[in-house]
């Protein structure tokens, strides 16, 4: 009996320390959420502006010969997989990797420690992803695409719907999608359309990368907070149940002890 009590006590202790851990992680995540969503919003604004500009460029008749607009047989796909730096974020990393499994033959560039652990490559932290890093990546992607080393470029990232919901999806960058709605008006280019498009394309890839990583990071912290909240609740429930069991065991051991003493006294 007393062994059982001891076991229960150790379990309660261990669940309690888990509860502390989840609480702390939840708090850290909540404190990061505000900043992360703010940065995400800023990234989105830039992305929207850049997308609008690329749409104008892509639909202008002067740019139709650009290699970035040419649709080729999409045999070789390159994917940038953006996952989290740490685990314990509910289904966040798992959802990204599940989608990545559908593109097994794609060439993968990983961002975020978890993604790097899985796909290999140099460690790039999603939390500290800078515009300069994005620029360097964009340069390689654009040069390789223009040289025909691959036919399609996508970013596998997570869309932040709200604090409770995030979904993994692929955002295709190359070949450029023409904005069908944009009115094709003749545009004057200075110095010429190719120079402009070539500069714009780096900005486009880099800007979209930064926006995607920021959005994914915001999703990660939001997912972590939700996961930690529910883990904390579960832990508390478990402690309550164990405590009840412990109290019962203790009470019954006391009762049996009294019974034994009373029986032993020979009254």
């Amino acid at each position: 009996m007393s062994e059982n009590i001891k076991q229960l006590k150790t379990r309660i202790k261990s669940v309690d320390s888990t509860l502390h851990l989840t609480k702390a992680m939840g708090l850290v995540a909540s404190s990061k959420i505000r900043k992360a969503t703010e940065r995400m919003m800023k990234g989105r604004q830039y992305e929207a502006a850049i997308e609008q500009m690329i749409g104008t460029l892509a639909s202008s008749p002067e740019c139709k010969n650009s290699p970035f607009l040419a649709v080729r047989d999409t045999k070789r796909t390159r994917l940038v997989v953006v996952a989290g730096d740490r685990g314990l974020a509910g289904g966040y990393n798992a959802n990204v990797f599940r989608l990545a499994r559908e593109w097994e033959d794609a060439e993968v560039t990983a961002i975020g420690k978890r993604a790097v652990d899985r796909f290999g490559g140099e460690i790039i932290y999603a939390e500290k992803f800078t515009y300069d890093q994005a620029n360097a990546m964009a340069k390689t992607f654009c040069e390789d695409y223009a040289a025909g080393k691959y036919d399609r470029l996508g970013i596998l990232c997570t869309r932040y719907v709200n604090v409770m919901t995030q979904e993994a999806y692929i955002r295709w960058l190359f070949p450029l999608q023409k904005d069908e709605l944009a009115r094709a008006h003749s545009v004057v280019f200075e110095p010429d359309e190719n120079t402009i498009l070539n500069t714009a394309i780096y900005e486009y890839v880099a800007g979209t990368l930064v926006a995607a990583v920021r959005e994914s990071f915001a999703s990660e912290v939001a997912a972590r907070r939700t996961a930690m909240d529910s883990a904390g609740k579960n832990a508390q429930e478990m402690i309550d149940n164990l405590q009840l069991e412990y109290n019962r065991a203790r009470q019954s051991s006391i009762t049996s002890e009294i019974t034994e003493i009373v029986a032993g006294s020979g009254l």
Binding site: M41, K42, G43, Q45, Y46, A49, I50, Q52, M53, T56, L57, Y131, H185, S186, V187, V188, F189, E190, P191, E193, T195, I196, T199, A200, E203, G207, V210
Partner: protein, 88 residues
């Protein structure tokens, strides 16, 4: 005074968004000013001082690291690596 919608976008968000009367930047081919009703136009922008004249007559000045200026009939957008307002 006729105005147009001007947006200065950087990776750190839109630093300017609103109506403007005139915007001056240094394009790859030389300084230029954009007024309302400008023809559709795209140019590279060199590192320069960007001057935005607001409808109330005040002027905002910022240092642009370089980027691209797009003028379409609907809006004028400056995409810049960075845009820092000058203290007036």
């Amino acid at each position: 005074m006729k105005t147009f919608t001007f947006t200065a976008a950087t990776p750190d968000g839109n630093v300017f968004q609103g109506e403007a009367v005139r915007v001056i930047v240094r394009g790859t081919e030389g300084d230029l000013a954009v007024l309302a009703g400008h023809i559709p136009f795209v140019t590279g922008v060199k590192p320069c001082k960007c001057r935005i004249l607001l409808p109330d007559g005040t002027e905002k000045t910022g240092n642009v690291e370089g980027g691209i200026l797009t003028v379409s009939p609907e809006a004028v957008t400056l995409l810049a690596g960075s845009f820092k307002y000058e203290e007036s």
